[in-house]
Amino acid sequence: MAEEFAVRMVNVTKTFGHVMANNKVYLELRKGEILSLLGENGSGKTTLMNMLSGIYFPDEGQIFVGGREVTIASPHDAYALGIGMVHQHFKLVDVLTAAENIVLGLPGGVVVDRKAVAKKVRDICSRYGFDVDPDKKVYDMSVSEKQTLEIVKTLYRGAEILILDEPTAVLTPQETEKLFAVMRNMRDDGKSIIIITHKLNEVLAISDRVTVLRHGEYIGDMDTSKADARALTDMMVGRTVTLNIQRDQPVSPQRRLEIRNLTVKDKEGVVRLDDINLDVYAGEILGVAGISGCGQKELLEAIAGLQSAVSGSSVKYRPTGPDGPAEELVGQNPRTIAEKGVRLAFVPEDRLGMGLVASMTLVGNMMLKQYRAGKSPLVDRRHPHELAEQIVRQLEVVTPSIDTPVRKLSGGNVQKVLVGREIAAHPTVLMSAYAVRGLDINTSYTIYRLLNEQKKAGVAVIYVGEDLDVLLQLCDRIAVLCGGRLSGVLDGRTATKEQVGYMMTTLEHKEAGI
């Protein structure tokens, strides 16, 4: 019976510090099947697979490959067991050719036999329908070519079990179709494949079975033929957890930001944010939900003047309500926006990269927002000093002194310093991205409290979050993004978790409502 399984992982547990990334997870992969590993961001999918491919070592639990219990301590061990993983971030050397990348680190003669390698590569390609030129340099390849090369690399090394970590995230629909075709070819050839994904339509299209993880725990698995999108969403997002976050009725909310036809393209010309129409009201908290990388970052940065938008896009700022004067924010930079008297506060996702300077002290970081204040040629140190002291006192920041570099602070204290500084500037719009990520419960509640205070003070608060329970219990309205488009806007008081989860993963919902 056990021989049917290519891989079985039993009670696998992995913790990072005090974060439990995987808790007694169970996974079985049958020979010659495609298994989807489904879950939200941070549900532990990649961690679990990294343990199978030798990147991480499990704290507890057993792994069986081909019915035999094994220890996988390095990628080397994984290859020896016929397990190959294609990571989201490709592991390829740009200046080397496809063939050179494939043989990298393999044992063999003093000189690489390029002809033999090229022949074997072509054999693999013709067998499964890949298209790889062995002599092409990686820097000349498109993303999809690189991915193909990664898959061929694992096959060249004799992988019987393939793990693909969100392979379609970087592909166009046509490329995805092509990938699925070769995946089916590989399966029919007897390979066993695990595909990590959070896209329901892909789960249904490609896989034979699906295993669902949530918050690092095994929720269940089922045959795809018996599954449907609704059922899978329910498994993915789970039951609602009551958090007792305070939420007051907004007091006379007024329209403060009018986002119209906002479209943002990245450097490669890929559309990251597609025709967004959204209003943000003063005195309310607007939640933004979505799988990560669906345009949240671009949305906030476009408002903050850090991201240029396609012409025709507009973000109007109305300090005194819908009928008052308006300032156009698109096409400006943070400095010109500030000079117009628009007080935007931004708590970015990357706290120690964009938010604060890690090696500077608390005082120095306060100064970053005030260095142009005053007329003296010397920088004013007194006010930043006072502000730092005030933040430490009011938000109970644990730090040896205000002259400590912020990188020495714990994640929660770093966030308090950042939020404290942003709020101190008396913003009219407060944007936060993943404000409670990695924070303990108490600090999280402190952050919720601060956001609520701002809401009460008439600030337009935008809260980009990943925990649906928090979004549903903190926010007055929730805008759901899916693949760079607005799936819809829901009332935070009546929306259900399933509803949000479904809209995050499917675009068909097009509810009117700005």
Binding site: A21, L96, L104, L106
Partner: protein, 327 residues
């Protein structure tokens, strides 16, 4: 014509010193280690070779050139590998900043070498400079029949064996990096250590070996400098350090290619010595001429950056320490 031949031969001697330095540094940099300690390592190689030859000649009743040669060669290799090992330990194991470590190594090597160079001068009699004439002669020996073939012989066969060894090492390094399996792995380490690690390559071992072997080759430049360029003496005029920096510049000029480094080294030599063959130069203009090699390096750097050719770029992870990812 005589003038031209004379310029070219001095350019070749000059070029050989920096060719060693540069080829060693190319090997090191291909592992992602930017070792700015090349001048210091060349100093170490030079003084170790000189000291070995000196003590041998002092104690042997009838010094034999060949023995002095072997002893000084081994001493130079050992001392410069030790220099490379210090650098490797600091930057790879302790993850110290590569630039700081390299510069420190240069200061250390120069200081140590000049300390011992001065002491050797004292041992040799206190006044004047030491000389290891017998060993130096062995280094500079060439086949008279070939060297005597007029200008042709002068240009191609009038050098000591180390001038040819330098070319051989450069050719071998080129083959090693471009063709061999270990060379391929080494390049991957310097480009993208995380990828190399995932492919099962022992990144730490590659970095250590490349740095030590590279240092040994660079150190030979110092040995050649003391034994051939200044004919078995010691000078504290700082030329050795200047040549060390030129070797670093040569790495960039040659865009990390050992074969290109060969002719570039000689070109640097021609540019460096050109002032000697232009009549009527003031002292000031002489110094300007000596600047030429650095100037062309800057021009190459600008040209390479503007062309953005992927092939002419430094190894991608050059100067960065490698941490295996942990969350």
């Amino acid at each position: 014509m005589t003038q031209l031949i004379s310029l070219l031969t001095s350019a070749i001697v000059f070029g050989t010193v920096i060719l060693y330095g540069a080829v060693g540094e190319i090997i090191t940099e291909k592992s992602g280690n930017l070792n700015l300690g090349v001048p210091g390592i060349m100093y170490l190689g030079g003084i170790a070779g000189l000291a070995a030859a000196f003590f041998y000649e002092m104690h042997a009743a009838e010094p034999v050139g060949a023995i002095g040669l072997v002893l000084s060669f081994l001493a130079a290799v050992a001392a410069s590998m030790l220099g490379g090992l210090i650098y490797a330990f600091l930057t790879i194991t302790l993850r110290a900043n590569q630039n700081v470590t390299g510069l420190t190594l240069t200061i250390f090597g120069a200081g140590l070498a000049n300390l011992f160079g001065g002491s050797l001068n004292n041992l040799a009699g206190g006044v004047g400079q030491i000389s290891v004439a017998v060993t130096s002669r062995a280094y500079r020996a060439y086949i008279p029949a070939l060297g005597g073939l007029g200008n042709f012989g002068k240009l191609f066969f009038s050098f000591g064996f180390m001038a040819y060894l330098a070319i051989a090492i450069a050719v071998a390094a080129s083959w090693f990096l471009g063709r061999s399996r270990v060379g391929l792995n080494l390049r991957a380490v310097g480009e993208d250590p995380a990828t190399a690690d995932a492919a099962g390559i022992n990144v730490t071992r590659y970095k250590y070996l490349a740095t030590c072997v590279g240092a040994a080759i660079s150190g030979l430049g110092g040995l050649y400098y003391t034994m051939d360029y200044i004919k078995g003496t010691w000078s504290i005029d700082g030329t050795a350090e200047a040549l060390g920096w030129l070797a670093v510049a040569l790495v960039i000029f040659a865009t990390w290619r050992p074969l290109r480094a060969i002719w570039s080294a000689y070109l640097f030599g021609v540019l460096y010595w050109a002032y000697n063959y232009i009549t009527g130069l003031s002292r000031g203009s002489v110094e300007l001429f000596k600047m030429l090699p650095y100037l062309v390096t800057i021009l190459v750097l600008v040209a390479v950056s503007m062309r953005r050719s992927k092939e002419s770029q430094p190894p991608k992870s050059l100067g960065l320490s490698y941490f295996r990812e942990e969350r």
